[in-house]
Every structure is written in structure tokens, then in C-alpha cells.
Amino acid sequence: MISRQEVEHVARLARLQFDEDELSRLQPELGRIIEYVEQLAGLDLSGLEPTSHAVPLKNVLRADEPVTGLSQAEAIANGPDVERGQFVVPRIG
């Protein structure tokens, strides 16, 4: 089971916030999902390598040649707040 405190801690890590109503729904929902996936915890898989990529592939390289990318104007065109070609953000901390 995941505690209320743990849910709040994970939410901070994930840069999310939930109000009281949401938390009271989320905590048991996450609890049930975690309880379900915990079936894996009991398996003895000690002899197996973890798979992060399921088809054989290694060392994919390319020639280091310059290509034309997006222009600065194109790259920032979707920015919610831009000024003089740069992204504007609120003060840090």
C-alpha cells in the first residue's frame, strides 16, 4: 500500500499537485495498481538480464556532418512567452 505521504512525495518529484478530492481518489487507485504489479516481486528472476531494448542492435553511429536545422524563429515559435529570441521563465526559486 502506498501512504498519503508517499503519494505527496512522488507528486513533488513529478512536478504535479493534487487537491484533497483528487488525493483521496488517487491514493487507493495507485495502491491497487501497485498491489497488482507487485506480483513480480515474488518471482525468482535472478539469472535473467534486464531487457531495455528488445531487438538486437548496437553502436548505431552516423557521420558527424553538419545539417541545417530549424531557424531560431521556427524553434521558438511555439513558446508561451518569448522575448528577443529567447524563452522567458519566472524567477528560479
Binding site: R15, L30, I34, V37, Q39, P50, P80, R91
Partner: protein, 495 residues
């Protein structure tokens, strides 16, 4: 059928893409007439189906006019054939939202590789199709914008996450469409909507410009009215791409499937998926497909893959973990939604993300962040990755004895809208039969195999890595034998 010269309007309800191609090549119809006919069809039925988030009428008509301006002899084979696109592919200059508020009004400055390929091939983009937000879901009910309905029964879901893509083909709003599949998001909606859906081998198709959900699983593929169209659309999008270092392309094109029988082929019936886990009606339709395989000369034998029963548990650790990392990019700085008021950067991130993401996306980010957090990594994520290895080994062993593995695509027919929204875990189990195939990176196709109480039932056929050509050829032979109607009755209502 001819609409040239102001004749009767073109009836698009039964058209496949290869039939569109023939009509265009023969001069029976112009690209403008064909595109107009699909736009009219969308206008007539999409109010009920809700498959499209946005229809690009002016863009489609302009592209069609450009095709018609070219002499027929100078056109490419598929030039002028319309296509529907899941709203997860970046299309230069066209709003792309992933059905999320956080990306509302986002205009990509570039084309996804598959979009560039289809553009070069001369296909006409009809518009962007609804989906579960960030492709997380099995019913398309997680879209931030609208609920797509199953054309076979408007009170039921089309499946998901590529529900808009499956529904638009079933409702004849496009001859074919593109979707994405992470744990079943092409095959399951194809099954529920009675169309063909192919998830290629991981790496067959470039993911560049596809908005990422779970990068070790995501794969782009076709939803079509028949197997030949699935092969053709796969060949149009497959290929190695320097912009996606995990892309490898296919060893050979799928070509035009034409196999007449299944002589000499061995089919393994996945034991874990044919028991009580499936609805009775689904089991009955599946059994009749097994009989058809035998009638065509194929050999069917039951095979057990014990590890697939751990598939959902492994998937719901791996996919959310990758998603929590991929979706960290939505921070309100460079694109997408930003909260109206914030005192500092941390508050801006938190408010932006909490306002922008829907409940299921938040749940998955939470699960993934939890699974990857200090102290839990080995118990959850690493253990899920080892389970993935076990599943890969079970499939590899089965393919030593069998050419293909088969199961129902979905344990149930399309369920009622709202039926599973209150219970996330029940929704996750919709992908029981498709998820392990994704974890093993194998190609899988769902083809219509019949009906249970008037609702489509799909058959999943799975092949070894990069066996798409053989897989599609076998699926074609079976499709001819099963001869299932793919035109939803909705077609009759609107005409």
C-alpha cells in the same frame, strides 16, 4: 461508381485504398472528387462517430488539386489517395495535440519522418484523429477533447488508444489511417471496430516526429480495410531513418500479399488466451478462425507461454516509467500550455502540468515516478525488465516450433462507454493479449474474424521479428477465407 463529369456522387463506403488507387489510375475519378467524397462522408457521419479532432478541408483539397494538375503518367502509385492521421504525428504547420490540453494549439515546425514519406508519396491528409491522451488508454475516453464512438454501436467505445483511426476506417471516413501501438493501441481498436490493424516489429518504422509515450515500445502502423492495404501502407512508411537510431527498416518489402492457402504452416494457439479470460462469444469466433486455418491446410496446436500472464504487470511498470521520463519535457517553457499565474519556476512547472495533463496521464506519471524513485528501482523497474526477458524467451521458444502464434486480439468485444472508466486496472486488462507481443517487440496483426452479438471480433496473428512479409501473406489467405464484412451498418443509415 464513376463521378467524373458530374455523375452520381462517389460512394466511398466500401472503398479500399487500393481500389482508390485503381480508380485514380484509370481516370474514373479525380483526386479532387475522391477527396471531396471523403470530406462529404466525414461531414455526414462524424458528428455521430467523433473520430476526427480536426478536419483539414482546405489543405486536403489543395493537395488533391495539385495531384490533379499532374499528368496521370507522371504520378506515383498512391498519389491522390486520402489518409487519416492519429493526432500524435507532427505535421508541419498543422495543430498536433496528442489529445491533450497541454499541447493544445501546438503547431509543429517540422514533419515526422512518416509524414514526410507520405507527403512525398502524394497521399492526401484528411485531418487529425482522436486518441487517448498521449496514447494512454484502451477506449479513447481519455481524450481531453471528445469521446469517439464505435461505428458498429454508437453506445460503445472504439477501443484505444488509436480509436479515432480505427473508427474512421470502419465508418468509411477514410480508406485507411495511421495509428501507433505501445501495448495494443493499433490491434485492440482494430479488433473492436472490425478493421485490419498491424503493429510492425519494433524498429521497422521510424519514430522521429512521433510524440513519445514509451520509447522502447512505441511503433507506428496502419489501420485499413483489408490486408493488402496494410501491406501497402507499411511499405510506404517503413525504413531506416538516421533521425531515429532505433529504426532498422524491414529486410524486404511486404509487397502485395497473395497467398491462396496455409499449407505447410504451423500455428500455435496461445493457451493462456483461449480459456476463461475471454468472453464466450469471442472464444466461439476464435474457434471458427482456427477451423478456417485448418481448412486452408495450416496446422494448429496449443502452446503455453506461461510468462505472458506477467505481461500486464511488467508493462504497467515499464511503460509508465518511460512515460514519466518522456513527459518531463512538458514544462510550459518551450511549447504548449503554460499556467496563467506563477510566482517562481517550480510553481510554474507544477501548475502547468497539473492543469495540462488529464487524470490517466497523471496516474501513469505517478506510477512511473514511484517505480523509478530511490529504493524502489530494483524491486519494480529492474524486475519488470527481467520479466520482459522471460517473455522474449518464451516467444522465441514457441517460434522454434511454430511459424505464427494466434489468439483473440481482445478478450472482449467493444464495451459500453463509461463501463471501465472508474477502474483503471480493469481498463488495463483490455490489452491482456496484445501487451506481451509489444514487450517482445514482435509484429502482430489483428484481422476481422467474425461477430459476436453484432460486434466485431478480431484475430491476432503474431510472427517472429521482421517476418512482416510472411505474416501479411498468411493473414491475406485467411482473410479471403473468412470474408468478413468491414463496413459498419452506420454506412446504411447515412446514405
Amino acid at each position: 461508381m464513376s463521378a467524373a463529369g458530374g455523375g452520381p456522387a462517389l460512394d466511398v463506403t466500401t472503398l479500399t485504398a487500393h481500389r482508390c488507387r485503381e480508380l485514380l489510375a484509370g481516370g474514373d475519378v479525380s483526386a479532387t472528387e475522391l477527396t471531396r467524397a471523403y470530406l462529404d462522408r466525414i461531414a455526414a457521419v462524424d458528428e455521430r462517430v467523433q473520430a476526427f479532432l480536426r478536419v483539414d478541408e482546405s489543405g486536403a483539397m489543395a493537395a488533391a488539386a495539385a495531384v490533379d494538375a499532374k499528368p496521370r503518367g507522371e504520378r506515383q502509385p498512391w498519389e491522390g489517395v486520402p489518409v487519416g492521421l492519429k493526432d500524435i504525428f507532427c505535421v508541419r504547420g498543422v495543430e498536433t495535440t496528442c489529445a491533450s490540453r497541454i499541447l493544445q494549439h501546438y503547431i509543429p515546425p517540422y514533419d515526422a519522418t512518416i509524414i514526410a514519406k507520405l507527403r512525398a508519396a502524394g497521399l492526401i491528409f484528411l485531418g487529425k484523429l482522436n486518441m487517448d491522451e498521449f496514447a494512454m488508454g484502451s477506449s479513447t475516453e481519455n481524450s481531453a477533447f471528445q469521446t469517439t464512438r464505435n461505428p458498429w454501436d454508437l453506445d460503445r467505445v472504439p477501443g484505444g488508444s488509436s480509436g479515432g483511426s480505427a473508427a474512421c476506417v470502419a465508418a468509411s471516413e477514410a480508406p485507411w489511417a495511421l495509428g501507433t501501438d505501445t501495448g495494443g493501441s493499433i490491434r485492440q481498436p482494430a479488433s473492436l471496430c472490425g478493421v485490419v490493424g498491424l503493429k510492425p516489429t519494433y524498429g521497422a518504422v521510424s519514430r522521429y516526429g512521433l510524440i513519445a509515450f514509451a520509447s522502447s515500445l512505441d511503433q507506428i502502423g496502419p489501420l485499413t480495410r483489408d490486408v493488402r492495404d496494410a501491406a501497402a501502407l507499411l511499405d510506404l512508411i517503413a525504413g531506416r531513418d538516421p533521425r531515429d537510431c532505433t529504426s532498422t527498416g524491414l529486410p524486404e518489402p511486404a509487397g502485395t500479399p497473395g497467398r491462396a492457402d496455409l499449407q505447410g504452416l504451423r500455428f500455435g494457439v496461445i493457451e493462456e488466451y483461449v480459456g476463461e479470460t475471454c468472453q464466450t462469444g469471442v472464444r466461439e469466433v476464435f474457434q471458427s478462425a482456427v477451423d478456417s486455418i485448418s481448412a486452408l491446410g495450416g496446422v494448429c496446436e496449443v502452446v503455453s507461454l506461461p510468462s505472458v500472464e506477467r505481461g500486464i504487470a511488467a508493462y504497467y511498470l515499464i511503460a509508465p516509467s518511460e512515460a514519466s521520463s518522456n513527459l518531463a519535457r512538458f514544462d510550459g517553457v518551450r511549447y504548449g500550455h503554460r499556467t496563467a499565474h506563477s510566482e517562481d519556476l517550480y510553481e510554474m512547472y507544477v501548475r502547468t502540468r497539473s492543469e495540462g495533463f488529464g487524470p490517466e496521464v497523471k496516474r501513469r506519471i505517478m506510477i512511473g515516478t514511484y517505480a523509478l524513485s530511490a529504493g524502489y528501482y530494483d524491486a519494480y523497474y529492474a524486475q519488470a525488465q527481467r520479466t520482459r526477458t522471460l517473455i522474449i524467451q518464451d516467444f522465441a521458444r514457441a517460434f522454434e516450433r511454430f511459424d505464427f502464434l494466434i489468439s483473440p486480439t481482445s478478450p472482449t468485444v467493444a464495451f459500453k462507454i463509461g463501463e471501465r472508466t472508474a477502474d483503471p486496472l480493469a481498463m488495463y486488462l483490455s490489452d491482456l493479449c496484445t501487451v506481451p507481443v509489444s514487450l517482445a517487440a514482435l509484429p502482430g496483426i489483428s484481422i476481422p474474424s467474425g461477430f459476436s452479438a453484432g460486434l466485431p471480433v478480431g484475430l491476432q496473428i503474431v510472427g517472429p521479428h521482421f517476418s512482416e512479409r510472411r505474416l501479411l501473406d498468411a493473414a491475406y489467405a485467411l482473410e479471403q477465407c473468412l470474408d468478413v464484412n468491414t463496413v459498419a451498418p452506420l454506412a446504411e443509415v447515412s446514405q
